[in-house]
Symmetry: C2
Subunit: 202 residues, 2 copies
């Protein structure tokens, strides 16, 4: 059976849980507490030398890291990843946008506010993080103004990847009400069959 | 013909130029000076609303952004992207590693040192950037100790993507001599047919 090294509060882990649920795939989930260094043990570093969740162990025991690479692997051949070359490229474009221009600001602001003490020096990064996160949300807002989903008017892993931290942006101090097209898209994503919430773990 | 919006000193742009050369594809290159705001003009934002190079315009005029998404699109069906599911997933794993754990530290340290004045406040970020960049280089060093290339013992777009800023790491204040396996791999990459240097633009 697939084995997922995961952390419940992680949006990156959530992406994979959501896709697995929508694919109807069963898996074993192993919770690692990132705040307690459980992704830095010798045992886990042997599986993922970069020491991050989510990491997937395939049925044959081979490991795969990086949430968006896992999404691509699992979605291959399904309705969640388009089959034409340009649409596939656009899905990848949004996945890389998510990891480079969105997650480091939208997710990290949330992490600092939820996981670090109020006097932690990283709190000083928040204004700069918010500015960059707002830029990412503005790019999504403009794109979604006249579209149903991010690519080709169909729900795909691009939507799953961007939904994960976008729907939690308020936790990072962003005001989602300022982004009505994102708000409407979040509702469409949450209305997909077999949707799961971040807190839904078995 | 393919049209590449590019900036010569960008490793992200260089990745695409290197693959295009190795694929033998002709293209028109349009230089945009990121330091002079040329990626923030109304005209360019209409092509890439995220305002970044490289951005590729396909023969039919459709745009594609994000360097690593462009690599995947161009390499599809060639020897530079494996055809089996797990090897493809590992290539993507390294491409996401590059954009999340490597480029923001190895490339950004180089950018600050080369493009910002000596009294710029971002210079204060350098110690933290170096620490994170060293962690990324250590992951690569351990992986390459007993491997020829990053995935499946064959040169692929994973090598192109990680080569781009790894071979320039000295510019960011990293000491590549501390990473002998990376050093040997850089030489193997540079010895590939039709290799190009960052400075090689037509």
């Amino acid at each position: 059976m697939l084995k997922l090294y995961d952390y419940q509060d992680s949006g990156n882990g959530y992406k994979v849980r959501l896709l697995l649920a929508q694919l109807g795939r069963r898996y074993e989930r192993i919770e690692l507490d990132i705040d307690r260094g459980e992704t830095r043990t010798e045992e886990f570093l042997a599986i993922n030398p970069n020491g991050r969740i989510p990491t997937l162990l395939l049925e044959n025991g081979r490991p795969l890291a990086e949430s968006n690479a896992i999404l691509c692997y699992l979605a291959e051949g399904s309705a969640f990843l388009p089959s034409t070359a340009y649409a596939r490229a656009l899905v990848l474009q949004w996945l890389f946008f998510e990891q480079y221009s969105h997650e480091p600001y939208v997710a990290v602001a949330r992490y600092i506010l939820r996981h670090l003490p109020e006097d932690h020096p990283r709190r000083r990064q928040l204004p700069e993080l918010r500015l960059r996160g707002q830029q990412a949300l503005a790019v999504m807002e403009a794109h979604l103004k006249d579209r149903t989903f991010l690519v080709g008017e169909r729900y795909s892993i691009a939507d799953i990847a961007l939904y994960a931290y976008s729907h939690l942006a308020d936790d990072g101090g962003y005001e989602l009400s300022a982004y009505p097209a994102i708000g409407a898209w979040l509702k469409r994503v949450a209305a997909q069959p077999e949707h799961r919430r971040l807190s839904d773990v078995d």
